[in-house]
């Protein structure tokens, strides 16, 4: 299995079909390889060889009987450690959940299993998915496989790194303000944030419920679309889960893009590094050559997005993280009184970024400040979502950068939380509007750092987004 590190879903399936290897051999080799490579990047927190091998045995039995092995049959996949996995430790990269073993699977994980995936392990991330660099993990930062002294992005840094490093064929991440797309762009892989509600949030450890999305990361557009196909759909266990039928992404993706209209949001080309801008413009030239029409559009409330987002997400986080009180979730710091036990458990076991967000969220929701902050932010969210509906009226999709700059050095932005928050400017808006968006590789800087091109489309129009991304990839993208 020399190609393990660059395997695509199609290659795995072909290898199994032509008996180059069995699913069990693949599962063992995938876990062995991931464990051996992990010290370089720290991308995995936990390995799940038993899960991978038991799934593999089922695949081999199906192959022997000549049965269909499923959409992801035999495909080694990593799962971000904020998604609950039955019987497999789920830490959220926090000391608070160091020994937490869920009693149930997240719906997205259950669907991966039903589709035949081999779950290799749990991917490192920022603590409770709060961060843009993966430096907020209680178990150490993840290193970017492309350049080991740089961050992989965050919060799904481990999920992006394993795909770039080749220690999984694809992975699941979660995106609340860019946590799939930004690490995908930093590591040079494909990352997809579907429409809000498209993938069930059941079993995703809640950070900001009105903004949380589950989505795939993979080495190409087709693989990302395949994983999304497997996990999308209505789930009665998530009350906000969408009813809309799920498209056949692999079929829709191959339709021509000739004549498609693309909007360029002018506000997303202000204040980004020149080299990043050059790559995105080069990407737009590729799309024009494919017959797309490109025109400038405006998302006028963009300058207010960071404030709006960090009020809503911290408010929801302060509420969601209230459950970690030293009673139900494994960890406790003993104290004489109940209140002291709560405070000491939370004070000692949450990391600094979680504390900062709990504090901000508690403050913006507190008596006398609610209208000025939380209610105001909810109104601004209406305006930001409205910007996208207006812009998408005249075009099929929007194209923009994912991040103003490529992967930065580990430690470079940790001293100043506001600077870190500002780096999310181009991605948080997609979550606020609940629209599907993705990052697709768009060349590298002179220093060899990947740049990601972002594509946004309208609610439930993932197919439109995949069509553009697939055509772009097939055309060779940007060198």
């Amino acid at each position: 299995m020399q190609n393990l590190a660059s395997f695509t879903i199609a290659q795995v399936k072909e290898g199994l079909r032509s008996k180059q290897f069995s699913a069990l051999e693949l599962a063992r080799e995938a876990v062995r390889f991931a464990e051996a490579e992990n010290p370089k990047t720290n991308a995995y927190l936990t390995f799940s060889p038993e899960l991978a091998e038991s799934a593999a045995l089922e695949i081999d039995a199906k192959l022997a009987r000549g049965e269909d092995i499923g959409l992801l049959g035999g495909v080694p996949i990593a799962v971000k450690d904020v998604l609950s996995t039955k019987g497999v430790r789920t830490t959220c990269a926090s000391r608070m959940l160091e020994n937490y073993v869920p009693a149930y699977d997240a719906t997205a994980v259950e669907k991966l299993k039903a589709a035949g995936a081999l779950i290799v392990g749990k991917a490192n991330c920022d603590e409770f998915a709060m961060g843009s660099s993966n430096e907020n993990s209680a178990y150490g930062p993840v290193r970017n496989p492309v350049s080991l002294d740089r961050v992989p992005g965050g919060s799904s840094g481990g999920s992006a790194a394993v795909v770039a490093q080749g220690t999984a064929v694809a992975s699941l991440g979660s995106d609340t303000g860019g946590s799939i797309r930004q690490p995908a762009s930093f590591c040079g892989v494909v990352g997809v944030t579907p429409t809000y509600g498209r993938v069930s949030r059941y079993g995703l450890v809640a950070f900001a419920s009105s903004l949380d999305h589950v989505g795939p990361l993979a080495r190409n557009v087709s693989d990302a679309a395949t994983v999304l196909q497997a996990i999308a759909g209505r789930d009665e266990l998530d009350a906000t889960s969408a009813f809309a039928p799920v498209d056949d992404y692999l079929k829709e993706m191959r339709k021509p893009v000739q004549g498609m209209k693309i909007g360029i949001p002018k506000e997303y080309f202000e204040g980004l590094e020149a080299e990043t801008g050059d790559k995105i413009y080069a990407g737009l030239e590729v799309l024009k050559k494919l017959g797309c029409e490109v025109k400038e559009v405006s998302l006028p409330h963009t300058p207010y997005a960071i404030s709006c987002y960090y009020i809503i997400c911290t408010a929801e986080a302060s509420s969601n993280l209230a459950r970690y009180d030293g009673v139900r979730y494994t960890a406790r710091v003993e104290a004489a009184t109940l209140n002291e036990m709560y405070s000491r458990t939370r004070g000692e076991l949450f990391g600094m970024e979680c504390k900062r967000r709990i504090m901000l969220g508690t403050y913006v929701l507190s008596h006398g400040y609610y209208d000025a902050y939380y209610l105001k932010a909810q109104k601004v969210r209406t305006l930001i979502a409205g910007d996208f509906s207006n812009a998408l009226e005249g075009v099929d999709a929007l194209v923009a950068p994912v991040s103003p700059f490529p992967a930065f050095k580990i430690g470079e932005k940790m001293a100043d939380p506001m600077q870190m928050y500002l780096s999310d400017i181009y991605t948080i808006t997609g979550d606020l509007a609940g629209i599907p968006c993705m990052s697709v590789p768009c060349g590298k800087t002179a220093a060899g750092l990947p740049v990601g091109m972002q594509i946004f489309s309208g609610h439930f129009r993932e197919s439109t987004m995949f069509r553009l991304a697939y055509a772009f990839e097939q055309a060779g993208g940007v060198a």
Binding site: Y100, V101, A103, Y104, T195, Y196, S210, E236, L237, A239, T240, S241, A242, F243, P303, Y304, I306, S307, C308, I311, A322, D325, G326, V327, R328, Y329, T330, R332, T337, L338, N339, M341, S343, R346, G347, E348, F350, M352, K355, R356, I358, M359, L360, Y363, Y373, L375, K376, A377, K379, V380, T382, L383, A385, P417, M418, L432, A433, G434, H459, F460
Partner: protein, 101 residues
């Protein structure tokens, strides 16, 4: 805006979050900086704008309601439900004594 150490301590009490002195200092600085940035929202007129609590739901508001019956898929037994307890006993979660006799 200024966010004092006293402000930090007050909010930390509301959040049941024990902070040490160094963290109180750091938090006062960081929250001051972030809240200053957030003040920009007050310059935006939103008097005729509806707040958005939920970005998208593609069905009637009652679509997720269901019959009040036991759902087997999400049912955990007592043992299973207590497995992750910090401390349990006699089928219950145990916490420090709350009521003195």
């Amino acid at each position: 805006m200024e966010f004092s150490k006293e402000d930090v301590r007050k909010v930390a009490r509301l959040a049941n979050l024990n902070l040490n002195e160094a963290e109180v200092d750091r938090m006062a600085h960081d929250m001051g900086e972030v809240l200053t940035h957030m003040e920009q929202l007050s310059t935006l007129d939103t008097s005729n704008v509806q707040p958005m609590a939920q970005v998208l739901f593609d069905a009637p508001a009652t679509a997720s309601l269901r019959e009040d019956v036991i759902r087997k898929r999400t049912l955990l037994g007592t043992e299973e439900a207590l497995r992750n307890a910090a401390l349990s006993g006699a089928g219950h979660f145990k916490v420090p004594r709350v009521i003195e006799r």
